[in-house]
């Protein structure tokens, strides 16, 4: 292997993010003291997502090829993507479409959840990939997933998700999304 090839194929661990072949990839692992069926339900049931995903209800029939939408009070639902894989309670994958005006020109990316049951706990891995180099969506999700997954763990272990540390007034892109859909 030439020196250049070695450089191009090196996997660099940056944050919970990696650069593989020059493309950013987000990987985050968290361990949750809950049955695997509960963790699966938390990912796919809008009544559960609402409690940890800062009010967002993720709705779909979760069949491969189906759409899912994300909706929240005061924000009209927008098409967020297509279910790519669904193998309860082990694996879920869907496309992730930029829904905010400043990133609408970016192509969709891919989110994959992998659940592994361990003794009295679940290893939950999220992989968010298929980004273009320099993606703005990538920067945003790298900050967002640790909040969402920390809140998910709190909900399943204590009965209460975490409150968002921001409010919607701090997120101009949410208002833009609402404006676009209205």
């Amino acid at each position: 292997m030439s020196k250049l090839d070695a450089k191009a194929t090196a996997t660099r661990t940056i944050a919970t993010t990696r650069i593989e072949n020059g493309k950013p990839k987000f990987v985050y692992v968290i361990y949750i003291a809950a049955p695997i069926e509960k963790v699966w339900q938390a990912l796919t049931d809008p009544k559960m997502t609402e409690q940890y995903w800062f009010g967002y209800r993720l709705k779909s029939d979760w069949k491969v090829g189906s759409h899912y939408v994300s909706e929240k009070d005061g924000v009209p639902p927008f098409d967020k993507g297509i279910v790519l894989e669904c193998d309860p309670p082990r694996r879920l994958s869907y496309t992730w479409h930029p829904e905010h005006r400043d990133v609408l020109n970016e192509p969709h990316s891919r989110v994959t959840f992998e659940l592994v049951p361990l003794e009295n706990q679940v290893q939950l891995t999220i992989i968010h990939d298929e980004f273009e180099t320099g993606s703005k969506v990538f920067e945003r999700i790298s900050g967002g997933w640790p909040r969402v997954l920390s809140s998910l763990k709190s909900l399943l272990e204590t009965g209460h998700g975490l409150a968002p540390s921001w409010n919607d007034a701090d997120k101009p892109w949410l208002r833009q999304a609402a404006g676009r859909c209205a």
Partner: protein, 153 residues
């Protein structure tokens, strides 16, 4: 991001607690043993203090010293593995804890970096930190830490 391409692990987790309680859990040997799967740190927690990570049997797993300390917000350690020759040979890594209160919770960031082009040590800690930090969050939020899970060799 690390523009130089040096191996670096960064993990962010949000914990419903205060900065003071998190700092206490991180620096108290008894609480360490509860969430760190029986491991505990031994340190005077002052700039320049020697630092050691002890295994459950009391033997030294890692050693280093306190580079910077600002309780309950920030700690920087030099950190070298002392029980796996191939990791020990890589020398000292740099480990940073950042604690930022955000409303009812704390944003906790762990950065572990090594000043060389490739690092088996950073690969190893990248497997370990998510388990330790998940267990720490469980302990502070529920009173019970997680059991350690060992991946098959």
């Amino acid at each position: 991001m690390n523009p130089t391409g040096k191996p670096e692990f960064v993990y962010v987790i949000y914990i419903r607690t205060t900065a003071e309680k998190l700092w206490h859990a991180l620096t108290d040997p008894e609480l360490n043993r509860q969430f760190w799967f029986g491991y505990a740190q031994e340190c005077g927690w002052k700039a320049g203090s020697p630092w050691r990570m002890l295994k459950p049997d009391g033997s030294v797993a890692d050693s280093g010293e306190v580079v910077e300390i600002d309780p309950p917000r920030r700690l920087v350690l030099s950190w070298r593995n002392e029980f796996r020759p191939e990791l020990h040979a890589e020398g000292y890594s740099r480990m940073t804890w950042l604690i930022e209160p955000q409303g009812e919770m704390v944003r906790f960031t762990v950065i572990h970096e090594m000043d060389r082009p490739q690092s088996k040590f950073i690969e190893a800690v990248s497997q370990g930190w998510p388990q330790v930090l998940s267990s720490l969050k469980s302990l502070l939020e529920t009173g019970e830490s997680l059991r350690r899970w060992q991946p098959a060799a």
